[in-house]
């Protein structure tokens, strides 16, 4: 029998086996975790100026939807996503462009002509013509696109989330 202060043979084997086991678990486990989370760890960022056509084409006082698509690669496939931008001209030179994505849970909002507000069909979120929350669950106003005018053409800055 080994004395209690010494590391006995059995004890030594147990410790070595435990250490090798822990090392093997790490060597196998870490790649496995990395394998699963790899697509989530890949950030896809991109930005572009999207032309929306001549500003004068958009009526004053009536929010008008402009649809566009952006494609990106997910895994081995190209995914085409649709986006919508509401161009709102308050006066001849005063205008804003809002994303039509509801700030609550990302459904798409519609401009209601009779109620004069943006309505989200999923949970009855309401935004006024300035994009401010007018009722329902949305936590913040509609997102606004950065805009610029080039030779009378309206462009918005699209940033990939």
């Amino acid at each position: 029998m080994a004395e209690s202060s010494e590391l006995g043979r059995r004890q030594f084997v147990k410790v070595v086996l435990g250490a090798i086991g822990a090392l093997m678990t790490a060597v196998i486990g870490l790649p496995a975790v990395g394998y699963i989370i790899a697509p989530a760890a890949k950030k896809q960022e991109g930005e572009a100026w999207i032309p929306l056509g001549p500003l004068e084409n958009y009526p004053i006082g009536k929010p008008t939807l402009f649809n566009f698509t952006r494609s990106k690669v997910n895994g081995w496939e190209k995914t085409v996503n649709s986006y919508g931008a509401y161009v709102v001209r308050y006066t001849a030179d005063e205008y804003k462009v809002f994303s039509n994505t509801c700030t609550h849970l990302s459904c798409r909002v519609n401009w209601q002509e009779d109620a004069a507000n943006f309505h989200c069909p999923c949970h009855d979120g309401i935004f006024d013509i300035q994009g401010r929350v007018g009722g329902g669950p949305p936590p913040r106003p509609l997102d606004e696109y950065e805009t610029k005018l080039e030779d009378g053409n309206l462009l918005i800055r699209f940033v990939e989330a």
């Binding site: 790649p31 496995a32 990395g34 394998y35 699963i36 989370i37 790899a38 697509p39 760890a41 890949k42 895994g75 081995w76 496939e77």
Partner: protein, 219 residues
């Protein structure tokens, strides 16, 4: 504390009994050839685990199969490693299972009372080859396509029903997306389920009957 938890579980699950019966068995003095069965089991589990991980990204369609594997190999972290283990493990498993069969044959370990162990082993060997055959098509590259064309064509040389067998294997007259889908189903569900069941019987019998000793001169 740990020992108290263990005793609580042991009293209810019989862990000590399981340990004594499965791992603390009395065995004759044997040699390294007797480890081939355990090696086969280990490789089956390894193929199972890496296969489950591959299924996270692999898509069995003619449009996606090749691209999804390219994605696994080039984009996914350690995808090359997991597919590499599955790829080489497959060849190694066929080799080890075959050597295990040879060991059993040459040591006459298939005789009474171990005939059923041998018979389940025959099914396991054939199922392992089936795994190799079905898995080979899944990358859906040129080699996979033509290997399966040839393989299913060979099955067609069976007298009378050969043509029927080929069409069943292919899911029609041509090698198509239907073939890929059914090979995938057989590869990840039918054969693994069969193998797992057969391993259960096989190992139960090994534990119940015990292993053979090395035959001596005059046996």
């Amino acid at each position: 504390m740990a020992s108290r938890i263990f005793h609580w579980l042991d009293a209810r699950l019989g862990l000590t009994t399981i340990y004594n019966v499965t791992l603390d068995r009395k065995v004759p003095k044997v040699n390294w050839f007797y480890t081939l069965g355990s090696a086969s089991l280990f490789l089956f589990i390894l193929q199972g685990v890496t296969g489950i991980f591959l299924a996270v990204y692999y898509v069995p369609s003619t449009k996606d199969a090749y691209n999804s594997i390219q994605y696994i190999m080039n984009e996914v972290a350690f995808g090359w490693l997991i597919r590499g283990i599955h790829h080489w493990g497959a060849s190694l498993m066929v080799l080890v299972v075959f050597l295990h069969m040879l060991r059993t044959f040459f040591f006459a370990a298939y005789k009474f009372p171990r005939e059923i162990t041998w018979l389940t082993g025959v099914v396991l060997l054939l199922a392992t080859l089936g795994m190799g055959f079905t898995g080979y098509l899944l990358p859906w590259n040129q080699r996979a396509y033509w290997a399966t064309t040839v393989g299913t064509e060979i099955a067609g040389t069976v007298p009378l029903i050969g043509d029927f067998i080929t069409r069943v294997l292919r899911g029609g007259t041509d090698l198509s997306g239907v073939t890929l889908a059914r090979f995938f189903a057989v590869h990840i569900w039918f054969l693994p389920a069969l193998i797992a069941a057969m391993i259960g019987i096989h190992i139960y019998l090994v534990i119940r009957i015990g292993i053979t000793s090395i035959p001596k001169d005059g046996d």
